[in-house]
Symmetry: C2
Subunit: 224 residues, 2 copies
């Protein structure tokens, strides 16, 4: 009887915990989506008013002013262009997003990717893996007082895909084995668990460590 009650209690708590995790992830999800939608909306808004300005200058026979506005705009677009990091669309979007987010937070984003054929690795798994790594890294680095950096390397060696991610982090972290607590308030470290789970799925491994200056994550995945 005692065993039954314990099992029931475990079951109820397990479900609640699972749902809390899901809600936590979803809150983050909609925050990212909201940021992305706002960027799009602002861009369209600015496009429209700049086009109206250009039209006005053409009307007033001030072609030079129209042209210099156009050139200013193009150079602006080139500077804020979402760089392509990989031919794999799913991971390229994720990296572009966090690269832009990091740059907006004053982080020195150092991204070095050797393009590769992801073969048997599901693109959405890679997107989740990189998203979690980059989300942790950008969040932690942005909170540092100086020398903000995030350094991502992806390379293939034989049939192994190696991903390493370092970010500045001078705070104290007390790991429990390979498990680190979240640096975000009221957060459980779902991100690191997801990373480990995906590495495990592809017969790989994930290792996290830190020294006084940086947090290091490295993930290995079997490509086939």
């Amino acid at each position: 009887m005692c065993c039954y009650l314990l099992l029931r209690r475990w079951q109820a708590e397990g479900k609640k915990h699972s749902l809390n995790n899901s809600l936590e992830i979803q809150r983050e999800q909609y925050k990212n989506l909201s940021y992305s939608i706002d960027t799009l909306r602002e861009l369209k808004h600015n496009f429209k008013y700049d086009l109206l300005y250009i039209a006005e200058k053409i009307h007033d026979n001030e072609s030079q002013k129209a042209l210099s506005k156009i050139h200013e705009y193009i150079s602006d677009l080139d500077n804020t262009e979402l760089i392509r990091f990989s031919r794999n669309k799913a991971i390229d979007s994720v990296i572009s997003y966090y690269n832009q987010l990091g740059r907006n937070s004053g982080i020195n984003m150092l991204i070095n990717i050797t393009d590769f054929d992801s073969g048997s690795i599901d693109s959405s798994d890679l997107a989740v893996l990189l998203g979690n790594l980059l989300d942790n890294a950008v969040t932690a680095a942005a909170a540092q007082p100086k020398e903000l950096f995030v350094k991502l390397n992806m390379a293939v060696s034989g049939n192994m895909l190696s991903i390493t991610l370092d970010n500045s982090y001078s705070g104290e972290l007390k790991p429990n084995g390979n498990e680190y607590p979240s640096t975000k308030k009221n957060h459980t470290a779902i991100g690191l668990k997801s990373i480990a789970e995906i590495a495990h799925k592809y017969n790989g491994d994930s290792v996290f460590s830190h020294d006084g200056k940086a947090f290091h994550a490295s993930v290995l995945l079997h490509l086939q």
Copy 2:
């Protein structure tokens, strides 16, 4: 001893289930983010080349061609403008996103929101709630052969916020009480569970039903 083993097994399975749910949500998350980044990238790309065309026409003294391109562009921006549905930024972004996604899939999106002060309701909870409702609705409606619609109403009555969402759905659904299976392949119905959990958090309720033509969801939340 048997009890201990059972508990351990439950614990292991619970953790695995929870992680699978988290990964499933995250895959969706990065798909949405990827779609949104692609839209932004395409917009910037097109804008750049249209600006170069306009500059060329100004150079060639073909002001009329430059002006008609500008007007065409502005009318295009107006047509694809992300409509504002609410003063609450968090929910507005989510609704705009799914409204656009639905329209792109040929769904008649009928959205009617009375602006309200969300008061004690956390904006991120509202975003997750609406995101789940709309994600389910748009996904299900898009798969219908004809008369695709999604109809969202939000209104306040007294201190209750009422949200109703209907979508065309002619398929068969076999509910287990108030629990519906996911219409997505390999998906558990985390969405409906999250909706129910948030309703519960605000002393409200959620009810799901369907007839031969549509799926109906209604959620009530206490505003204070």
